[in-house]
Amino acid sequence: MAVIEVDHLTKRFTGVTAVDDVTFAVEQASVVGFLGPNGAGKTTTLRMLLGLVTPTSGTARINGHAYADIDEPLHVVGAALESSLAYPGRSARNHLRIAALAGGARPGRVDEVLDLVDLTEAANRRVGGFSLGMRQRLALATALLCDPEILILDEPANGLDPEGVHWLRTLLRNLASDGRTVLVSSHILSEVAQTVDSVVILDSGRLVTQATLAELTAGGTQLLRIRTPRAVDLAGLVNARDGAARVVAGDRIEVSGATSEQVGLMAAKHGIPIFETTTEAADLEDIFLRLTAGQEQNEVTR
């Protein structure tokens, strides 16, 4: 069942089409990466989904309703948007107390979410003195206050150090294993690649693709790195078949377009020893860049 449905959504600001006829759906209990370079229209799309920005045309629905028609919305959807900043003069705890009161969170929840995002010790400090990473944690805590089934996170990894990114991944995985639906945006695929089931890719306001990670990598090519004393011979054999091989050093070749099994059998048949084979998964980042760059070229030629 789709819990988030975006249907022919368009937003035009004066002179600029920020989001152009975008359609996608997010299934219940899935973790979906919402990807695209900066300025692709991700934030505007999320803001339309959350009723903060009025679409020029099209609809964005959560559980079949426009956000404004959801009763007790914070119990259904938790959102951490890049700019949903707290008043700098307030302590983290007071910021959460206000959100808890506004959203109708159950008592005691403020302390729970502070603990969940490791901000308990900083709870009574003014938010104005927080680092970007701490603000991101506070935004996540705010999103989780009313224990929502759906989470919408806009660039949650921004400003986090490597340790923070690792922490975020673990948190997202835990949320997903609870059966929650997560839509998480990022302009860096690798930040979310380990966590998401599928991706929605946006570029220049238009939908590039909605696909599972497997579908995305299926089109991509795998790279084999092989160490063999007869590098030139093996490369010649591979090139004679479907694959493409390149000798990179006296005893090393790189092969694409063939599996390690195919190359191994070929080598065995001709008595070529293989010392080492490593398979490099198709580079998601490359695929991502190719998909979004292609779109930009279309933009230019149009």
Partner: protein, 262 residues
Amino acid sequence: MTRLIRTELLKLATMRLTYGLLAVAAALSALFSLLENNMAGTGGSGVPAISTADGLRTVTTVTGFAMLFAAMLGSIVANGEFRHSTATLTYLATPKRTRVLLAKVIASSCAGSFFGLVAGIIATGVGLAFVAGHGDHVALSAGTLVGHIAGAVVGAALLAALGAAIGSLVRSQLVTVIGLLVWAIIIESLIGGLYTATRPYLPYTAATTLAGTKLGSAAFGPAHGLSGGGPLPFVAGAALIAAFAAAAALIAARTTVRRDIS
């Protein structure tokens, strides 16, 4: 709706600005009631001695500053959310934006009424202290003094509501705060000085007359101390300010409040 109003009050209670504005309003009330007291009975300023009813009233009804600060607080309650982008969270919790507007107007009135109460007590306290110090007879009845304080509470509450409505209409905090000051200190004084008959209908002046301040006493410029004309009856004056607030809130709900939050 109760939850929304409580949320807005909690926001106010957790802002240092609220206490700062209250402190400044209280200090200005004390300062200016002392100044009026010093001028009272000296002849030059036209303020009668505080042993007289008129003189005492001039000192005990210096509550206009608190009303003006209550209006500024109201405007900040509304558009401070845009200065710090907290409107996003507010509207995520309550997507029905007119309800948020209404809650802000009501919460601002509550906070504003407290500004009026504090200023009324301070000014009355200053007046009574000097009357007692001189060993004079208190020329105003207890009922009148309490009535003036109650009037300050109502006036400040209504101006705070008007401030919140204006703050909802104009998203720039700087523009509304400066605008409110300029309006009360310069524009009302100019209009009131040029067209004396309009004075009872000017919102800041009308609010001060609710608290027993003489028409013109709260004015800063040419209209200060101008005699002639009388204030609107209490209920009419209060209704007038409430109508201004309602009109501003209605326009805000139809225009600014609906705009995109980005």
